[in-house]
Amino acid sequence: MAKIKGAVVVNVERCKGCDLCVVACPTHVLALQPKEVNNRGYHFAYMQNPESCIACQSCALVCPDACIEVYRVQE
């Protein structure tokens, strides 16, 4: 069976650090930056475990600010 590899790109300046993508991710890829903030002072989301991403789009679907792009390849 072909293996799906995924990745997301977070629009850092659009992100408000609401954490909903982190909660929605079934494979625990995402986390909020513990220290770093964007220009508006938000701890933005990032891929903490990029190797686990399956490109399911769950994070992007629930993101209220449409700041997540999802990429998908079949290995």
């Binding site: 990429y71 998908r72 390849v73």
Partner: protein, 253 residues
């Protein structure tokens, strides 16, 4: 496989819809409004309705909806969006006309316009965001506030003897003959977002087909008003709001 090999334009499977522009949305972090805006922008794009969609914005948190979705908009007075939509659709019947209203706007000051527009069977779509509170003015009680729920104007919790009962708008709209599609949805999980999107798509199709009034209620969170984190708000919504406002279609003619 390296990240650089995955993150290439040809591999992109999800991105911000084009019609949702780059303006920074003023909504609080985690607010359901953003998700619904995104769904609407996606649908208008996917259904090829860019030159046909006309939105009527409310008074309340979504008052600036017109700043975020790049279609023609009219900003309504508080509660009057269905009256405005009525005229816009009757005068331009080939357009897809929708209102976007919160529960303060629609369920309190705008009840009259909503019920009568639906009863006339106006070929419009009403997107109804129900988070049980007035968000924009700082978290006061709405007609939809649950019993016992603490707000700025029910600081000890909503009481029947003081404030009456929570109002279920979708049931009212489903009861009038002019409505063709009334459904209650949410956007708190990926599956819920997909379902809400197909509900709004159906409503948009109804407007174009002239089938009558469609109302899509989105039971939503207001984490600032509820004084909870966005994730906890979603949990609280499922545990409390869904009992009073159950999910699913109320009418589908």
């Amino acid at each position: 496989m390296e990240l650089n090999d995955i993150i290439k334009p040809e591999n992109r499977v999800y991105q911000k819809p084009r019609l949702l522009n780059d303006n920074h949305m003023h909504y609080c972090p985690g607010c359901s409004h953003g998700v619904v805006h995104k769904i609407i922008a996606e649908l208008i794009e996917e259904m090829g309705l860019e030159d046909k969609a006309i939105g009527i914005a409310p008074v309340g948190c979504a008052v600036f909806a017109y700043n975020y979705i790049d279609i023609d908009w009219i900003e309504a007075a508080h509660g009057r969006a269905p009256a405005i939509a009525t005229a816009v659709k009757r005068l331009q019947p080939t357009k897809m006309v929708f209102t976007y209203q919160g529960d303060g706007d629609l369920a309190a000051i705008g009840t009259c316009e909503t019920i009568h527009a639906a009863n006339r069977g106006e070929n419009i779509v009403i997107i109804f965001i129900n988070n049980g509170i007035y968000g924009m003015t700082g978290g006061q009680m709405a007609p939809t506030t649950l019993l016992g729920m603490k707000t700025a104007t029910t600081p000890y919790g909503r009481r029947v003897d003081l404030n009456g009962y929570p109002l279920r708008i979708s049931e009212l709209v489903a009861a009038v003959d002019g409505s063709c599609y009334v459904t209650r949805q949410s956007v708190h999980t990926p599956a819920a977002v997909r379902k809400a999107k197909s509900a709004i798509k159906k409503a948009f199709e109804n407007s174009m087909a002239g089938k009558g009034t469609s109302l899509v209620e989105i039971v939503s969170t207001c984490n600032s008003g509820w004084k909870k984190s966005p994730a906890d708000s979603n949990k609280w919504m499922v545990e409390n709001m869904f009992a009073k406002y159950p999910m699913g279609d109320l009418k589908n003619v």
